[in-house]
Amino acid sequence: MASVETRLKVPSAAKKGEIVQIKTLASHPMVSGQTKDSNGKPIPRDIINTFTCSYNGKQVFKMMLEPAISANPFIAFPLRADQTGTLDFVWVDDNGAVYKDSAQITVT
């Protein structure tokens, strides 16, 4: 399994109550299970199937992914900034591998 890299775009500061846009990307091939290798053997499915975002320990967003999600899944969603703290992002793939990233947001 190729190494998976994650990238985040989270504003470092926001006003209390402001709705900020969170953008995430994981470099993952998202093998759909529909493709075959050069010998005609099906390539087993291997996708990121779950993505979650927690805000100071509380889950605020979850996505369940199917093979119809493109490779290197890009996921963006809004979040209401109401307290200074940490955003934790977790991606889980079919092999049970867990990829984590986090970001700080300062709310004034």
Binding site: R7, K9, S32, K62, M63, M64, A68, I69, R80
Partner: protein, 157 residues
């Protein structure tokens, strides 16, 4: 769009490996593949969401009218609803009626999101309809769908 370079960029080796993978995937895409989903499959998939049938409205799907590359079709789903503890969008589903399997994604939202809006990229095997269903915290189901013309199908959805 530029994401912050908090992680290292693609190495040359990795870029080459990705390229080779893409070529393979492309070759595989031209071979016959499993049967594609039909509108009936989507109905079954919808029934699996839960009781009740969704009504039209509140949900807006943003998608290109024509997607040149079915491997990455940018999609947005917006639901016209407050996002308060008393009244919010709990779940959004997306399906596609011409892919090998109808399900595309499920999103669980919370009032903390402030707005009911998601953005992501999907694979479409052919010209087909994308369908979004949203469930609000009061249990009501809302839906929208729109066709997307695909020039080159995303191999095997």
């Amino acid at each position: 769009m530029r994401l912050s370079p908090s992680r290292s960029r693609l190495s040359r080796r990795r870029a080459l490996a990705l390229g080779a993978g893409a070529a393979l995937a492309l070759a595989a895409g031209f071979k016959p593949r499993a049967a594609l989903a039909t509108p009936d499959d989507v109905k079954k998939w919808l029934a699996g969401i839960g009781p009740g049938s969704p009504q039209g409205g509140k949900v807006t799907i943003g998608a290109p009218e024509i997607a040149e590359n079915g491997n990455t079709v940018p999609i947005t789903i917006t639901v016209d609803s407050p996002m308060t503890e008393a009244n919010y969008v709990k779940t959004i589903w997306m399906a596609a009626d011409g892919n090998p399997a109808p399900g595309v994604a499920r999103f669980d939202l919370t009032p903390a999101n402030g707005e009911a809006h998601v953005e992501f990229r999907i694979r479409l095997a052919q010209t087909e309809n994308v369908i979004a269903v949203a469930q609000l915290s009061d249990g009501s189901l809302w839906t929208a769908s729109r066709p997307v013309k695909v020039t080159i199908g995303g191999c095997g959805g």
